[in-house]
């Protein structure tokens, strides 16, 4: 297609909010470097492109593809497979592509429940109780609507992934640095990290970058920032606010906790952790200051939504991935596909 000899760049938005796209634009003038060094061949949010154009490209012809968003429906999966085939370096870009992100919290409910909430609750103006149909005939012909899955999956459960770049969204400085590194690597001036690595992030946790004072931890109760005014200089967790910072990979400069908002864990687990929420639950429960089961239960009552709290952006990448009913619906659907 292009004869300018520049490596090709693609970016795709699957099940995600669009924040990742904005974050890329937020690298400011470095976006010009992207343009200078790459030939942007596919970036639906920024330029017009058709899937068939991508399909027409030779395999492995895209050098760098940033894929953001989770795999929520058959279209996401189809494009993931397509871009995997066409790309040399496929990066799971942002929390949703890495570990499912916020959309994956719907793995706590079945697709049926999700659709009911969206189309049939009192807040929805849908008197005919219409639902999206997989196939729809219009005068121009038959339309196939992408099929929505029961279980939201991270990108690497659909296709092999070369690098993971976490964040909701990834910090623009980190994106700029990664882009710069790839450009250098393409020129032979730098080497890329080992395949499968997490890029654009650190190796310790958010606490490393948070300057709040930390003490030995003993938690006697949990609360939320809307319910009380935390000491601005003291560790939020010590004040009973569920801050996921201790378990979350650093790289964000601790923006949220420094601004008084607890970390939700968007940069995901550190290298050693197999299950973000499992680690975090272990840590937080360990420092509950009680030996009495009933009192422990009373304290835990103050965490109304454990999965939502501990797997805020990681549920699809966790060990269990989805709730039992959601899996059952998923398997049932697989049998009938």
């Amino acid at each position: 297609m292009t004869a300018n000899g520049k490596p090709k760049f693609a970016m795709y938005w699957a099940a995600a909010c669009g924040g990742c796209e904005i974050a890329v634009l937020n690298i400011h003038e470095k976006i010009l470097d992207v343009d200078a060094n790459f030939d942007v061949v596919f970036w639906p949010v920024a330029m017009d492109a058709k899937y068939k154009d991508v399909e027409a490209m030779p395999d492995q012809s895209i050098t760098l593809c940033l894929f953001n968003g989770a795999i929520r429906n058959s279209e996401n999966r189809h494009i993931a497979e397509l871009l995997r085939r066409k790309s040399k370096i496929l990066v799971a870009f942002g929390s949703c592509a890495c570990e499912g992100g916020f959309p994956a919290l719907s793995n706590l409910t079945t697709r049926e429940e999700t659709l009911r909430t969206a189309f049939s609750t009192v807040s929805t103006d849908n008197p005919q109780n219409l639902r999206p149909q997989p196939n729809y005939t219009v005068p121009e012909g038959e339309l196939d609507i992408p099929h929505m899955y029961s279980v939201v999956r991270p990108l690497d459960q659909a296709v092999p992934v070369d690098y993971y770049m976490p964040g909701c969204p990834p910090e623009s400085e980190q994106i700029a640095a990664v882009v710069e590194l790839v450009i250098k690597a393409l020129k032979g001036e730098a080497t890329l990290p080992a395949a499968g690595s997490v890029i654009g992030a650190g190796h310790s946790t958010v606490c490393d970058e948070c300057t709040r004072t930390r003490n030995e931890k003993k938690i006697t109760g949990f609360t939320r920032i809307q319910d009380f005014r935390p000491d601005p200089a003291l560790c939020l967790l010590e004040q009973g606010i569920l801050c996921n910072g201790p378990a979350t990979r650093n790289g964000c400069t601790a923006r949220c906790p420094m601004a008084g908002v607890p970390c939700v864990g968007c940069y995901g687990p550190t290298d050693g952790a197999r299950d973000f929420g499992g680690r975090l639950m272990s840590a937080v429960a360990s420092v509950i200051d009680s030996t009495d089961p009933q009192e422990i239960e009373r304290i835990l009552d103050q965490i109304p939504d454990p999965v939502g709290s501990f797997y805020h952006t990681n549920l699809a990448g966790s060990l269990l991935q989805a709730s039992k009913p959601t899996w059952e619906e998923d398997q049932h659907a697989a049998h009938h596909d």
Binding site: H203, S204, T205, V206, C207, D208, R214, N215, E216, K217, K218, C235, L237, G245, P246, A247, N250, P269, T270, D271, G272, A273, R274, R279, L280, S282, A283, V284, S286, V287
Partner: protein, 665 residues
Amino acid sequence: MTEKIGVYVCHCGTNIAGMVDVEGVAKWAAERLAHRGVVIARDYKFMCSSLGQELIEKDIQELGLTRVVVAACSPHLHEQTFRTACARAGLNPYLCELVSIREQVSWVHTDKAAATAKAKAVLSGGVERVTHHAPLEPLRVPIHPATLVVGGGIAGIQAALEIADSGTRVYLVEREPSIGGHMAQFDKTFPTLDCSACILTPKMVSVGNHPNITLMTYAEVTKVDGFVGNFEVTVTQKPRYVKVDLCTGCGVCEEKCPKKVVDDIFEVGLGKRKVIYRPFAQAVPKYPVLDRENCTYFIKGTCKACEKFCPTDAIDFEQKEEIITLKVGNIILATGFDLFNAHRIPQYGLGRLPNVFTSLEFERLCNAAGPTNGNVVMRDGTTVPKSVGIIHCVGSRDENYHAYCSSICCMQSLKFAHLVRERTGAEVYNFYIDMRAPGKGYEEFYHRLLEEGVHFVRGKVAEVSAFARLPGEEGHLIVQVEDTLIGKQRRIPLDMVVLSAGLEPRHDAKQVAKVFGISCSADGWYIEKHPKLDPVATMTEGIYIAGAVQGPKDIPASVAQGAAAAARVMGRIQQKEIALEPVRASIDETRCSGCRICNALCPFNAILYHADTAVSEVNPALCQGCGTCVAACPAGAISGTGFSDEQVLSQMEGLLLRNLQPVEV
């Protein structure tokens, strides 16, 4: 897969082979686990035999094994055996894994197919786990030669003397003003009827005079830091208000003190003592203590009779509590027992019916140095009883109180019966559930009592009352009992009843256990490392137990345990250093962000926080290897040798057989 793993499946005679197809398991491992690194899998009659061990050693050398998995008995039995075998063949001993297919498979299951399947899974778990083992070196720490003995009863005395005689320092700490313990309160000892004081006093004196024993009475251990070989012990010395360096023990102060109070401790409320006092004549050390609560000077500000008459100016009303720090390598706990409080059984009338006595009260009645000069009399202090009942198992073998047998109360009751017959000629009834006389000379003593004409009624006493219903019962205590040998309810009128109360753990046993970092059973007795093979060690290295603190026992057994604990400690001191299991946590400082989750989790204070670098660090000498911080570290920055995430999770993969490749059909 770069590891070369050798797998050895033990028959253990028929112990394993009787329920597990051991040849089948070995063959299966060789085939199905080959892709996981298993290069050889053998079965053998007895892996722990020298021939079995040689098999492993030969394979290590000839096949170049890098890991060894033995499927046999519990690691608590033979882990050391196989580690040593590996070491002999030049393989780091920590690269060996012992999986239990005997205690946890063949002995507990009844279906051979299921047991064999489980043995395969267990072995598969071991193979996966061993792959993640790291070569380790044991941690060597020096042993401080001094020893702390806590509790100056007969067990503690014996232990202290044995160690001191071997030439090393002993600190003997006792809570009461004198050593001697319960034994000092007794009159005679069963079954030989030796005078208790006569055999105890010389030992107490030896302790007091021994150049290697530092005796600290009226003192308590309040804190223990450190670990085996290197304990730092904090002792709180309560003020005696007597300068022991000046006091000669002449006793003038006690003589001149104008105030007497009831002695609730040594004389169990039957006698009185002065406010400045020695608990008993043979007390060691000889220095008195001043009872501040009751002292007229401390209450009213005047008196000071003791000070006035003291020839050496040893009285010091200003004395304060003193905190002393000791460095010791080993600790023996011999803190003894409490007597079961028989008030808890109201139907036996203690405290309500004057002539119901506890066993310890009765000991004091019999004792020539006691409040009645050894006369067995009723509560009025003069009347000699004509009939005495002795109730066994008070608070023992009773699900409402203690389910266990107190072990001493049969023999104690027989002793009481003999003393009553000897001193008063009264009729004696022993009410027992079962007669337990298993010690040397005990059964013979029972027969002697039978010949002395003591009545034995087999049955648990329902009630002791003073309500006369039948002629002849007026003015007596009536014991209501089912005589199970004749199958009849009986009411036996008696002048005096003695409750042979059981033994129970010290009221503060659990707090003391916490100070020393050892564990208690649900009852509160301290738990030995092994009930048969290691009865005086505890799970905490360097801390030993002796005497009734471990469970009810009589004097010979307490003495034996005191000596046994001493022997263990002396062995340790002789070795000069000890090798500790290298199961320890460590923190990767590059990944630690100083969140401080782990800091408060360690009960051994092994985790230090460096405020300057905002990183936590584990002190390996203090770390006991429990792994709690490893599990709690949200960053995954703490790893634990021996039980790493990889080891546990890969073992799980193996146990669930997720490591197998599908069989080609």
